[in-house]
């Protein structure tokens, strides 16, 4: 016979589930389903979707290009201050994104520490540009691919890489044929999470790059702007983002919990 589920646990668990489910359900109930066809044809929405895709994909590519080598260094190279560097690199995960945006302004804004020099010497301005939105998004989402890759590398049995070296693999060959293929599942999870986070980025982007339609206005920013002018449209766009996030999470369900 199955053991009875203790009543207090059942009640609290149900409360937790309802609390999370309710807003999603409300979106579904309140959505103006009649105007689904026009939700994305409106100029604002389709442009925001295009900007979102551009920004999130480029930010993911940069995150992987820089974050994976960084994860490798954090996992495999011993140097003083490694723990501190790891903490700083992962900081954006817990930091309010708006703080990240302010930090980026201080560094790369037109009057910023580096930004001033960029502007004076090269005439480059990052704030209020799509490139700026990409930078802000990268700042916030890159830690996810770093965390996933580093966890994968740390969990990898070094004996395989040693064996590969003993079988004639140069360090580069071993990395290409053994190390990264063996952590491919974690790497893939990291990339998808990074992209999903990039797609949902709001705070750092609006702080650093502003909310310019066609340039820096991504879907979340469009939702935020539309919530008073066109509440129904905002709900439909929100549902769209919920759907994408849900697909990502379901696809990754085992890997996030560390099981397969």
């Amino acid at each position: 016979m199955r053991r009875q589920l203790p009543a207090p646990i059942a009640v609290l668990a149900a409360a937790g589930a309802v609390f999370v489910l309710l807003p999603v359900l409300a979106l579904v109930i309140r959505a103006p389903w009649g105007s689904v066809g026009t939700a994305f044809t409106g100029v604002g929405a389709s442009t925001a979707l295009r900007v979102s895709l551009e920004v999130s994909v480029v930010a993911t590519v940069i995150s992987v290009a820089v974050g994976v080598p960084l994860a490798w260094v954090l996992a495999r190279v011993e140097f003083p201050g490694r723990s501190l560097l790891r903490a700083i690199v992962v900081l954006p995960v817990v930091l309010p994104p708006v703080v990240g945006g302010i930090g980026l302004l201080a560094a790369l804004g037109r009057g910023g520490v580096v930004g001033r020099w960029l502007y004076d010497v090269f005439g480059v301005q990052l704030t209020f540009t799509t490139a700026g939105a990409v930078l802000a998004t990268t700042f916030v989402s890159m830690p996810l691919v770093i965390l996933a890759t580093e966890a994968g590398l740390r969990g990898l049995d070094v004996r395989y890489e040693r064996a590969a070296a003993a079988f004639g693999g140069s360090p580069g060959y071993v990395m290409r044929r053994v190390t990264f293929p063996m952590i491919a599942p974690q790497l893939a999870a990291g990339v998808v999470l990074t992209w999903a986070r990039a797609l949902g980025e709001f705070g750092a982007t609006i702080t650093f790059a502003g909310n310019l339609a066609g340039k820096t206005q991504t879907l979340p920013l469009a939702v935020y702007q539309a919530r008073e002018i066109d509440p129904g449209g905002a709900i439909l766009l929100s549902l769209f983002l919920v759907g994408i996030s849900l697909i990502v999470l379901v696809a990754l369900r085992g890997r996030l919990a560390g099981t397969r």
């Binding site: 004996r159 395989y160 040693r162 064996a163 590969a164 070296a165 003993a166 079988f167 004639g168 693999g169 140069s170 060959y173 044929r177 053994v178 293929p181 063996m182 491919a184």
Partner: protein
Amino acid sequence: MPLDVAFTAKRDAFTVQVAFSAADGETVALLGPNGAGKSTAVEALAGLVPLASGYVRVDDVPIQDLPPERRPIGIAFQDGLLFPHLSALENIAFPLRSRGARAEKARAAAVDLLTELAPGVRPDARPAALSGGERQRVALARALVSKPRLLLLDEPLSAVDASARPGLRALLRRTLTTFAGPRVLVTHDALEAMTLADRIVVLEDGRVTQAGTPGQIRSAPLTSYAADLVGVNLFAGSLEPGEPGTGSMDTGEGTVIVPWPDGVPSGRIEEVLATLAPSDVALHLGRPEGSPRNVMLGEIEEIAVVGERARVRIRTSPPLVAELTAGSVERLGLSTGALVWASFKALEVRLNLRGGRT
């Protein structure tokens, strides 16, 4: 010399000191208990652990400073250590591909070895789908595929089911005898070393305690570990002349009467080793009257029955292991904790003066 090794390697606080050489077509076994430093020695040979001092020479050329990928060594690692993300065939082809061989050429060589050594394994099977024995066969093929100068087998039978062992052991023997260069077999299994190796290097606690042919080690083990491995009683101590033709050996745990070594002048001799076959020890319920000079009483510590034979460990002074038939154990009614008399003739004790004389 095709293979000449003398080095010290350190891993963490553990130091391993090994020296041996091997000719072409000769199998040298590194035999030792777990934790003796065998794996560290293997990794030092392969270049995965740096040497603290010493050398590894292949054909008189020092290779200790070469990175692992440039050493002419084929290794079958403990547990196989096949790459889990590659198929059996890709695993075997790996050492060729890593050295720049073309895909088709590597594949053809891998197919040949797979058919020869692991005919039952599907080429596209992942290691996870293979049995321990099959994995070891694939690992063996991977060790041989690049036609290395030296073959290194690390505990090839340890991860294999008992049922698959005889077949794999026969395959190992065949592979070892057909491999032209020096072969090094690392094992903790004395039987494996005795049956597969031409020479045995006994490694204990990071040091070589004995080296010789299986016959030499069987007849004259130098340490209690080696004696235990080959299943004999080992006595170590000093020898004093006794009655004419005999000597009295003080082992620190008791006294054993032994034959006086031929041609050795009468006088105290230090550091003498002596062995006694367990089958030469007779057990009695009452004190035996007769010719055996060594008679001692002790409590039975352990009775291990293997097939028709029983090994009885007795807390005599010095402690003894006796081997008798399982029927005798029953007939005498022997049981753990019981007192029993043990006897053996002085002539049955074989002396080993450290100079190598017996």
